[in-house]
């Protein structure tokens, strides 16, 4: 019993407020659930609320949906699942490695090297495209490789200018989340189209969308995992180092198993983001690798107001995340997010 616990009338007032918010939270979800079991006539006839009492439930919408009468539903569901799972696994893994490196190792580089990357990438692209007359795709590849190589080589020399360290790299990663995704999505679409002209199909392909999602999820993975690794006791790793265990074995054999709860929670948060993501999927897919949000949004415009079908489709997109919410809330209680927001 803490001193902050509410007493008397205030306690009931707070309960009332919470109940109102609970009703607001649940009513729309309840509504979509019952609508998916209504017949077309029951939907058009005005609002009804209780199955078996003021309308007869029917399975028409669901059987139509699951039997494939409503277009490419299974393909889309699988595309969403495959892309969502592989992108979240890859992002969690790659991000965890980077987060671990940023917590346990020292990184130093000069601001000038970073500037070299930007200037060479920018200038090289313009040079290749407009002076040397290469195609856009070729100039992109050349300038990227040249910029990266020069930036890495230049970091080996003692350059003038301010020195940057781990915190700056973390800030740089996390700041990627601040960009409006439209900037990246549109440019990525153009870049992928150029690559397509060179023979690498990236628009509407598994690789293209998965890589976009990995890059899009990395900032949040690094943010969450970094705090998790910082909370791990360093003594275990130090003991292993005394025994001359190589760093990669310390990471895979000791650190990853110890941080399993963090990895699972991060994976689930990433999966939720990727599963619901709309903008990249809208730009980068058109048929084969279309994901659920695009299909669900399309139900709206193509078929007018067939609410029973729309509800069933929306529920297919929602239910996996509902299950996740249940699992996540158990992890949340263990205080996982406490570290992340400090």
């Amino acid at each position: 019993m803490s001193v902050r616990t509410l007493k008397g009338k205030r306690r009931w007032l707070a309960l009332g407020g919470c109940l109102i918010w609970l009703a607001i939270t649940f009513f729309p979800l309840y509504w979509v659930l019952i609508t998916s079991f209504k017949t077309p006539i029951a939907v058009v006839g005005g609002p009804t609320y209780l199955p078996f009492v003021d309308f007869e439930p029917s399975l028409t919408a669901w059987s139509e949906l699951l039997s494939g009468q409503r277009g490419q539903f299974f393909n889309t569901f699988w595309a969403s699942t495959i892309i969502g799972l592989s992108a979240s696994v890859a992002a969690t893994f790659i991000g965890a490695m980077a987060a671990y490196a940023l917590v346990r190792f020292t990184f130093r580089f000069r601001l000038l090297s970073a500037l070299i990357f930007v200037v060479i990438a920018f200038g090289g692209f313009l040079l290749g495209r407009h002076v040397l007359g290469y195609g856009q795709g070729i100039s992109l590849i050349y300038s990227f490789v040249a910029a990266l190589a020069l930036a890495v080589i230049s970091s080996r020399f003692r350059l003038p200018g301010p020195e940057l360290g781990n915190n700056d790299i973390v800030f740089w990663f996390v700041s990627q989340r601040m960009f409006p995704p439209i900037v990246a999505a549109f440019a990525l679409y153009l870049m992928y189209t150029e690559m397509g002209k060179l023979g690498f199909k990236l628009v509407d392909s598994y690789i293209g969308l998965t890589f976009a999602y990995i890059a899009f999820s990395l900032p949040i993975v690094i943010w969450l995992m970094r705090d998790f690794f910082e909370a791990l006791p360093v003594e275990v790793e130090e003991a292993a180092m005394v025994d001359n265990v190589p760093s990669w074995r310390i990471f895979f054999g000791i650190v990853l198993p110890m941080s399993k709860p963090g990895l699972i929670a991060t994976f689930m948060i990433t999966l939720a983001f990727v599963w619901n993501e709309f903008l990249f999927a809208l730009f980068l897919t058109n048929s084969k690798w279309q994901t659920l949000p695009i299909l669900v949004a399309g139900q709206n415009s193509q078929r007018g107001d067939e609410w029973w079908a729309i509800s069933a489709a929306a529920l297919v997109a929602i239910i996996p995340m509902m299950v996740m919410a249940g699992l996540l809330s158990r992890l949340m209680r263990s205080g996982l997010l406490l570290g992340a927001i400090k």
Binding site: P47, L102, N166, P180, F251, P293, A317, I318, G335
Partner: protein, 291 residues
């Protein structure tokens, strides 16, 4: 303690490479495109126009209108999210009866795809079959044009944003509330401070750093809104609910006006950065006062 080992490069480069390739490099490409006049349909060769696209945009009243709409939606919805979120978090933190159930169920809206949320909202707000209009009629209001009249449509979009993202505010503030030390409250209770005084002088100031961070994140994210608007109103009626991202999508994918769209996305980036910097600059004195 950090250590130095060449293997660190093996750990960090995969992430670095992917972010450079997929987020930074497109930015470079898009920035060069924004200084050119370039169309896919009808195809016109790229032509350097300097700041031409930017000047066109800044002179286009539609851009200012869209920026205004986005700002309105973002500020009002984040304000409401913060007020509701803080109240619910306070209630949950002070062990309201049934706190465990509330805690799990309040998370739900956050995990529902925004596209699905928008479709559900369209059903609930439907003028003939929607339950909300029936409720309104029962209360004596006329049939309300929730999605077809500008002010109602804006209000509906804001309501949907609040419904979906208040859980995030609750989650973060609740985590913050739980880190506050008990002894300060015990001292306040000894001094017979009223609950309101405790909130005003202890809870709110101590929660300020987290509040600032949460509002900042939500504000930035709200500016990117497209899914809900895309499905609920499609930017209509007219362009009255169009947001910045939706405007960029229309220009880029309906008109294939590449240079213009790139310039638009960079203006958007500048707007977000300026808002972020102003926000942090305004709040800095308060944050330092309460440290």
């Amino acid at each position: 303690m950090t250590r130095n080992d060449p293997i660190k490069h093996f750990f960090i480069w995969p992430a670095l490479l992917i972010v450079l390739l997929i987020s930074i490099f497109p930015l470079v490409y898009s920035l060069t495109t924004s200084f050119m006049s370039m169309r896919l349909v009808p195809p016109t060769p790229a032509r350097f126009v300097g700041f031409g696209n930017y000047i066109d945009l800044l002179q286009n009243p539609r851009f200012w209108h869209v920026a205004g709409t986005t700002t309105l939606i973002a500020f009002i919805s984040v304000g409401l999210q913060y007020v509701i979120g803080l109240s619910v978090a306070l209630a949950l933190n002070s062990k309201v009866p049934g706190e465990g159930i509330f805690r799990v169920s309040f998370l739900l809206p956050m995990l529902v795809a925004p596209v699905a949320v928008a479709l559900i909202a369209r059903q609930v707000l439907n003028p003939t079959m929607g339950p909300l209009n029936e409720l309104m009629s029962a209360l004596g209001f006329p049939n309300l044009p929730f999605l077809t009249q500008t002010s109602w449509a804006l209000g509906s979009i804001i309501a949907v944003e609040v419904w979906q993202w208040t859980p995030f505010v609750i989650l973060m503030l609740l985590a913050g509330l739980q880190t506050l030390p008990d002894d300060v409250y015990e001292a306040a209770a000894l001094e017979n401070a009223t609950p309101w005084q405790q909130f005003r002088d202890i809870t709110f100031p101590m929660l300020l750093p987290i509040s600032v961070a949460v509002v900042f994140i939500r504000l930035i994210e709200s500016y990117k809104i497209i899914d809900t608007v895309f499905v609920m109103t499609g930017g209509g009626p007219g362009i009255s609910t169009e947001t910045l991202t939706l405007f960029a999508y229309q220009e880029g994918f309906k008109k294939f006006n590449l240079g213009y769209t790139s310039a638009l996305s960079f203006l958007f980036l500048i707007v977000i950065t300026v808002i972020g910097l102003v926000y942090l600059a305004v709040l800095k004195p308060y944050l330092e006062k309460h440290k």
